[in-house]
């Protein structure tokens, strides 16, 4: 090695005068150059070859061993760096990632990996070499592909989803009579192009159930099923759009994206006592058809939008709860790590939820696929870092993590009058609880020493024994003192709790920090490895919305809200109309609803998507307009059984030549059973689930988890009002794959699980509702129909359709075993000993469990 080096050295010196090595080098005298080159060859190159190039070289790349996209085998490679950015900044050792990695500044970038640091002399050599201009004669090996990078900004801006949607011409179609709307013409044109024919119209009853469940989440009553005619559809839709149930159904779709929850989950499942206000705000927003752009602006920057009217002001504050609802690692003891993790969670929700982009990938390195440099991530992070989140108190009594406690927004009629004293009270309570918990721990530390002292006493003799006795006595005295102190503090906390001042309403949310600040790039996402400061701003790949950068003295959240909802933002409207489409047609035109980037799917009907996006914005971002126009299309009425040709040529139904049957979600199943039983309470619960737990005492679910029993989690209100406790979802929600509140959910899973079957077959609550439904059916429906009428009423109530004659007969055979119906099940041994009403209840339960109840066809 050494011998070879000498050769290399001579070779390099000969070339030195002919090669430009960088400005620092050019300025240096030739003698200096030779000296620096010699230094590189003797001290630097051997280390690079032996310790770095195994994983960071063209050779490593050929062997598939290249790590981090980083090449240490050329000057270019060092200067450009890999996934984590430039490795060497000539003249600046402190800013050179290479050196920082070699110094093991952080565990994650420590190089060489899994080894001790290289000797200090080597580190000193590298520091000196970089300070002297990082002279390096090595050229990159020709023909080796550059490291993997996302798109450049120019390439990114040219990608289909980054170009603003333009209104496309509505296409001409062969079968013009089929199309009821422009939507139909876009779909039909694609079908005709693909040689497909649309499916016929679904039975009126099926369309009615579809429209009820899609618009309101509630099934039609038996009477509505009986009297419905297709020509009534428009009037029926308009009626449904006006109901509060629309707000609950479509608000809940948004809550999936907003990862809404009423507790923190994670390591400390702290209750979010006030989260429900945000939930209700969302339901109200959809029920009143708040324009979606306004809705987004309020959630991102509501506190900055002025309103003189107190109720509006409250709603605007509550809206910002959107930013604060994320799950936080309360046990994290490093404030900076905690803070950046919280920001990351917000960027994830804004990125995937609003823009359909996985922006959060750029936290540690430039995005591998999208045109999102790390700098853009930290531009956004700066905005959120300049925003104070208000989520209240985390777990109490832990000194090391007390930094994450925050205030809350005061709302309600008494907000202004009571805010200051309320906050002061909460602060004081927290201080006293901290003191109480701390002295409990201190007492425990003393108590722990007792067994040792006792053992010593047992084994000691003579003087030692006397000493041991004294020690134990002293210990006991000390413990008594602690008992007194802890007792006093406990009493003081109780007194404080009993004398709480009148409180305003509280809400989670966000407000400006006093000192907005730009954020530094965190190399590899490490809080300990800071790079350049990035001015607050947005994603540069989306440059069409001309929104000015945030000025000094403000976080930039208002500008962020404007940028997100700007008409020229190409993503927001597209992503949203695609979500709505997917809720109604079972799958998005873009099948990756939260990924509109290069890794996402291309739209099946790009013109239709753009048509919808443009029309949606033209119609004032109205969700009701959009839902209405889609459910009144011809396409929405199609049968789910397509033509033979469409099934064979388009098995995946990409071209929407038939309706896609969908799984009924957890809420639909829950509400439908309650409604059939006549027990569904359509009102909004008067108080939040957690009202039973003292908002200023029981902050953590941990301490009263035994109270969260299955029985406690049952309610006759709609499922959307069931408590969303992270990690402890009510059974029916958990089993039927409710959206996980841990992250923004674009599409729920719909697995078919035997545990779901077991639930519907055996769960006592389901049985109870089946019994209630059977009882109700005895007096319902057309009395003249007798038992057959009862069967018909039940089919219509639970499945939304009229039974066929053979079905009625089969059911009657089952329930009326004594009279020996003609069905095979009738009169079998299995049902002997069961009363007739029990068998009616069995039939009801089987309707709940049946395939048709669990699907929307």
């Amino acid at each position: 090695m050494i011998l070879n080096l000498n050769c290399a050295l001579r070779f390099a010196v000969l070339f030195a005068v002919h090669t430009a090595f960088g400005t620092a080098f050019l300025r240096a005298s030739e003698a200096d150059n030779a000296e620096r080159l010699r230094f590189f060859e003797s001290r630097i190159r051997p280390v690079l070859v032996e310790r770095c190039e195994g994983c960071h070289s063209a050779d490593a790349q050929q062997k598939g061993k290249l790590k981090a996209g980083f090449f240490a085998d050329s000057r270019k490679g060092l200067l450009e760096g890999g996934d984590s950015g430039p490795a060497v900044v000539a003249g600046k050792p402190a800013e050179s990632l290479l050196l920082r990695a070699m110094q093991h500044e952080s565990k994650d970038i420590a190089m060489p990996p899994k080894e001790e640091k290289l000797p200090k002399s080597v580190l000193d050599d590298f520091a000196r070499w970089i300070a002297d201009g990082a002279v390096d004669p090595r050229e990159a090996v020709a023909g080796i592909a550059a490291k993997k990078r996302g798109l450049s900004l120019e390439q990114g801006r040219a990608f289909w989803s980054m170009r603003p949607p333009l209104r496309p011409a509505v296409p001409a179609v062969g079968d013009a009579g089929w199309a009821l709307s422009a939507v139909d013409r876009f779909l039909l044109a694609a079908m005709e192009r693909e040689g497909l024919k649309p499916a016929g119209e679904a039975p009126a009853e099926a369309v009615l159930r579809r429209v009820y469940l899609d618009v309101t989440g509630l099934a039609p009553a038996a009477e509505a099923v009986a009297s419905f005619r297709m020509e009534d559809l428009e009037a029926e839709v308009d009626r449904l759009l006006k109901s509060d149930a629309f707000g609950e159904r479509w608000g809940r779709h948004w809550l999936d994206v907003a990862r809404y929850a009423e507790s923190n989950g994670k390591d400390r499942n702290v209750i979010f006592h006030h989260a429900w206000r945000y939930r209700d705000y969302v339901f109200d927003a959809f029920a009143s058809d708040m324009p979606f752009d306004v809705f987004l602006r309020e959630q991102v920057a509501g506190d900055l939008l002025a309103s003189a009217q107190p109720e509006r002001r409250d709603a605007l504050r509550v809206a910002t709860g959107f930013l604060a609802l994320g799950s936080k690692a309360y046990e994290e003891t490093k404030p900076e790590v905690f803070r950046m993790d919280v920001i990351d969670e917000q960027i994830e929700v804004l990125g995937r939820g609003v823009l359909g982009l996985s922006v959060a990938c750029a936290r540690c390195h430039d995005h591998k696929f999208e045109a999102i440099p790390t700098a853009d991530y930290y531009a956004l992070a700066g905005v959120l870092r300049s925003t104070a989140l208000l989520y209240g108190y985390g777990p109490r009594g832990i000194k090391a993590t007390a930094f994450h406690h925050t205030e809350l927004h005061a709302v309600g009629a008494e907000a202004d009058g009571r805010e200051a004293q309320g906050l002061a009270y909460l602060r004081r309570l927290d201080e006293e609880m901290l003191a109480m918990h701390t002295s409990r721990s201190d007492r425990y530390r003393v108590q722990r020493r007792v067994p040792d002292a006792k053992r010593k006493l047992e084994t000691a003799a003579g003087d030692e024994k006397t000493q041991a006795e004294c020690e134990l006595e002293a210990l006991n005295r000390e413990i008594d003192e602690w008992h007194a102190k802890v007792g006093a503090l406990e009493k003081s906390v109780t007194q404080l709790q009993d004398s709480a001042p009148p409180m305003p309403g509280w809400a989670m949310g966000a407000r400006e920090r006093e000192q907005p600040e730009d954020c530094r790039i965190h190399i590899r996402g490490e809080t300990a490895l800071l790079g350049d400061k990035v001015p607050r701003g947005f994603l540069r790949v989306l440059d069409a919305p001309r929104v000015s950068a945030p000025g000094p003295g403000r976080s930039g959240r208002l500008e962020l809200a404007e940028w997100l909802t700007h008409r020229d933002n190409p993503l927001t409207a597209r992503v949203y109309v695609n979500r709505v489409w997917s809720h109604l047609f079972g799958r998005g035109l873009v099948t990756t609803p939260d990924d509109f980037g290069v890794t996402g799917a291309a739209p099946s009907h790009p013109e239709l998507l753009d048509h919808l996006a443009v029309e949606f914005m033209d119609h004032g971002w109205s969700t009701k307009w959009l839902v209405r126009s889609l459910v009144l299309s011809r396409a929405y009425r199609m049968d789910s059984v397509g033509t033979a040709g469409s099934r064979e040529r388009d098995p995946d139904n990409r071209w929407v030549a038939r309706m896609r049957p969908r799984a009924a979600d957890a809420e639909v199943i829950h509400d439908s059973m309650l409604a059939a039983a006549g027990l569904l309470d359509r009102s909004r619960p008067k108080e939040p689930f957690f009202a039973a737990f003292h908002a200023y005492r029981d902050e953590e679910l941990f301490s009263f988890k035994p109270f969260v029993t299955k029985a406690k989690l049952l309610s006759n209100h709609r499922a959307v009002y069931l408590p969303v406790i992270r990690g402890v979802l009510p059974e029916v929600l958990e089993l039927f794959e409710f959206a996980s509140p841990d992250r923004p959910v674009a599409e729920r899973n719909s697995s078919i699980l035997p545990t779901q079957a077991l639930y519907l077959m055996n769960n006592p609550r389901v049985t109870e509702l089946a019994v209630a439904t059977a009882r109700r059916s005895a007096g319902a429906g057309d009395r003249s129909g007798g038992s057959a009428g009862r069967v018909t009423w039940l089919f219509r109530t639970v499945l939304g359709r009229t039974p066929r004659a053979h079905e009625v007969e089969r059911v009657l055979g089952f329930v009326d075993a004594q009279t020996g119906g003609s069905g095979q099940g009738g009169g079998s041994d299995a049902t002997v000993g069961q009363g007739v009403e029990e068998r009616w209840a069995d039939f009801c339960q089987m309707l709940f469990a049946s395939v048709e109840h669990r699907l929307i066809r």
């Binding site: 990690g727 794959e737 078919i752 545990t755 077991l758 077959m761 049946s850």
Partner: protein
């Protein structure tokens, strides 16, 4: 349609002809997204990636962090320096009050509190250089189970089922007996973004001692088996009518899920019925007597599930967080697990199952060598011990070491990511290729880290 061309199979045809049949699909997470259902058979990847050494995992989770210097990592130097100040200034060093024995032909060191496990020493592969990123229980447990303590990620068990499916269509692929439920416990066995069928079915609750070990809604107190069958027959007849008018793969899946549930009603209690075991077997696990009864039953049930084809079985012992009461606590815990764990290893061996069953023992971290008292130890995530046995690992073998006092791993360091990579490797899965695309990104159990610890492979 020509059935000799598998790529053109409709899902329904495939379901009817596939060797694994309906049950496999229902459990193996393949019946999830409708988009994936329609056109192709959604087997995630050609799996396993290479010949597996183990077919299944039994994970003995020791919640709280067992002390390494009082189990599998003797520290004579620590005993010598008893009472001296350690590395952390004010705290005093103290050694194990229990001796170690050289066990088996391999002479593996096992604490005298675990004499029965000691007799199985030649089966154990002790990893003394374990380390992990976090010293809080909740986060370390989460990382041990999912690789991440910052984000919600699928559990190791869920990844295993995702990768390999299940061997028995009548049973879940992942079962967690006596799981932790407090402090984010459900995340330890959840499938996160993987299909829900990859998540664990749970029995009992470690945070509610005495909670019965049962599968929810498995039986119906008010309906005989025959009555249950009669009403299911009624429903299935209606369902089949729907199947004809509603051409959707989901209909078949739903119809079959009720048959599977019905079979589970019989089979799960059968597998869980320990009265079917001989007296000798119950005694082997200590399932017939105190203080081993509770954990012994869990171990025995784990073997029964393993035998029945469950892919991943986790059982939990919760009492290892001994800041105080170390002397009594270690003696109690060891007495509770010693016979059951040894019985499990012996039983697996005599049934010829040990070779293909990977047994993993350990907690979320270890303990510190120093403390203000001599009767408790603090959390130590920088160095601790776990052990593996069976399925393709070197028995009677020690890999790695902590420093001579036990503060941190210094040799043969195995990060929890490395352990995951190694366990997947033993199951025939390449941790870098076992990926799941979610939200625009391919996720792995080991994130972007992890190295297979080749030294431990038999």
């Amino acid at each position: 349609m020509d059935t000799s061309q598998p790529l053109n199979f409709s899902r329904r045809q495939w379901l009817r002809t596939a060797p694994a049949g309906f049950g496999y699909l229902a459990w193996a997470g393949l019946a999830s997204r409708e988009g994936a259902l329609a056109a192709t058979v959604p087997v995630p990847q050609p799996l396993p990636h290479f010949a597996p050494r183990a077919k299944r995992v039994i994970f003995l989770c020791m919640r709280g962090g067992p002390s390494q210097m009082e189990t599998f990592d003797p520290k004579p130097e620590l005993i010598k320096r008893q009472g001296q100040t350690g590395k952390r200034g004010h705290l005093k060093l103290f050694g194990s009050r229990w001796g170690f024995r050289k066990c088996g032909n391999s002479g593996l060191d096992v604490v005298e509190l675990l004499p029965e496990i000691g007799k199985q020493a030649d089966k154990l592969c002790v990893l003394r250089g374990m380390h992990t990123d976090n010293e809080n229980h909740a986060q370390a447990l989460e990382q041990m189970h999912t690789g991440s303590f910052q984000f919600v990620r699928p559990s190791f068990g869920a990844w295993t089922v995702y990768g390999l499916g299940t061997e028995n269509g009548n049973l879940p692929g992942f079962i967690s007996i006596n799981p932790l439920t407090a402090l984010g416990g459900s995340r330890y066995y959840s499938s996160a973004f993987l299909p829900a069928s990859c998540s664990a079915v749970t029995l009992g609750n470690a945070n509610q001692p005495g909670a019965p070990l049962v599968v929810g809604d498995l039986s119906n107190a008010n309906r005989s088996r025959a009555a249950q069958r009669a009403r299911i027959d009624l429903m299935q007849e209606l369902n089949r009518g729907a199947a004809d008018s509603l051409e959707d793969a989901r209909v078949d899946g739903l119809i079959e899920s009720y048959e599977l549930a019905f079979r589970m009603q019989d089979q799960v209690p059968e597998v869980m019925d320990l009265t079917r075991e001989s007296k000798a077997t119950l005694a082997l696990y200590g399932a017939d007597r105190s203080p081993t009864e509770s954990f012994g039953k869990q171990c025995l049930m784990a073997r029964r599930f393993a035998e029945a084809g469950v892919r991943f079985i986790e059982i939990t012992h919760v009492e290892w967080d001994l800041h105080g009461g170390l002397a009594g606590g270690m003696a109690r815990n060891c007495a509770q697990i010693d016979r059951p764990v040894a019985g499990l290893l012996q039983d697996l061996e005599q049934r010829g199952m040990l070779e293909e069953t990977l047994v993993v023992w350990g907690g979320e971290f270890g303990r510190t060598p120093d403390d203000p008292t001599t009767d408790g130890r603090g959390h130590n995530n920088l160095g601790y011990s776990m052990w593996l046995a069976g399925g393709g690992v070197r028995g009677g073998f020690v890999h790695g070491a902590t420093d001579n006092l036990g503060y941190e791993a210094v040799e043969g360091k195995v990060h929890i990511h490395d352990l995951h990579a190694t366990l997947l490797h033993l199951l025939g899965l390449d941790h870098e290729r076992l990926t799941y695309r979610y939200g625009g990104r391919d996720y792995r159990l080991t994130d972007v880290k992890g190295n297979v610890v080749r030294e431990v492979l038999a």
